[in-house]
């Protein structure tokens, strides 16, 4: 089932274009790097606030509200460009260890974010400003920084373990 799907993606017009046109993949990679670094950069600004290391006079709620549109827009771009990059040789990507680990880390990032927004942020009014951030929120910040640095590192590792096209 998965093999047939990957084969269909490989044979699609987009997959063929990414694989056979020498400048499509590099430009997709440029857009992917811009998007993923924006995701990481904007998330780290919020994570450092949670850890009490920076922006401590800025309310957490306002900071997340300021950063989230940027983070989500960049994440959407990273998702689209990443999918297009994979479409050129999907079976090879899915067989690559670093790629599978990167997907796993993306899942971990999503779970960390869901737990943070649904559980930890419930008590936000108590520590939104001028109050110590609870341990659970600090843990979410540390986890997030670790996960996103891993995602960038694994992305680079993919480039060194398979030919781009």
């Amino acid at each position: 089932m998965l093999a047939r799907f990957l084969d269909a993606v490989h044979e699609s017009a987009i997959g063929t274009l990414v694989r056979e046109n020498g400048s499509v993949f590099p430009w997709l990679e440029v857009a992917h790097v811009v998007a993923i670094t924006t995701v990481v950069g904007s998330i780290v600004i919020v994570d450092l606030r949670l850890l009490g290391l920076a922006s401590t006079t800025y309310p957490v709620s306002r900071l997340t509200k300021s950063m989230l549109p940027l983070t989500w827009t960049a994440f959407a771009l990273a998702l689209v460009t990443g999918a297009l990059m994979v479409s050129g040789q999907p079976a090879t990507y899915f067989g690559n260890f670093a790629f599978r680990m990167k997907m796993l880390m993306l899942l971990a990032a999503g779970m960390n974010m869901v737990v943070f927004h649904l559980l930890t942020m419930r008590g936000l009014p108590l520590w939104d400003r001028d109050a110590p951030v609870p341990a659970a929120a600090k843990a979410a910040g540390i986890m997030s920084i670790f996960i996103w640095i891993s995602i960038v590192a694994l992305g680079r590792w993919i480039g060194f373990t398979m030919a781009p096209f």
């Binding site: 590099p26 790097v33 924006t38 922006s55 800025y58 960038v152 590792w157 060194f160």
Partner: protein, 162 residues
Amino acid sequence: MTHWMEALSAWLETFRLHGEMQNRGWIVPAVQTVHILAIGFVFTSSLVLALRAAHVSGIEWSPAQWGRRLNRWMGWSLLVLLVSGSVLIVGEPARSLLSPVFQVKMVLVAATGLLAWWLAGRLGRLHGPERPRLADQGLAALIVVGWLLVISAGRWIAYYTS
């Protein structure tokens, strides 16, 4: 210029670090990861400053407050960018130094870095909630474009063949 670059490239290839980077496959991707994270922090900081300058987001803080929060962060990230970039040059001097794309990237880094430094001084004087002048908004946007071009050139070094 080319002869000078070729001589520099040949000299760098005699470094012990160059040999280590050629023999140990994990060093280049590890340093590239640091390099990408550093440019990511520089780029995102510029983007946040540009969005604040345009009064789009982050308006709870004045431009000067955002500057105090992000300028030192950008400075350290730029330093990491330069150190990791220098290590990558030692690893593959011919591929970088002799590439016109790399040379364009270096000019862009210097120009954009200087513009960012200039903007930092201008935004540092804006302590109120007001919207910065159109010239400052344009300068902030230009810096974002500059870093975008730096990232693009950085990726294209890997694909450019003369």
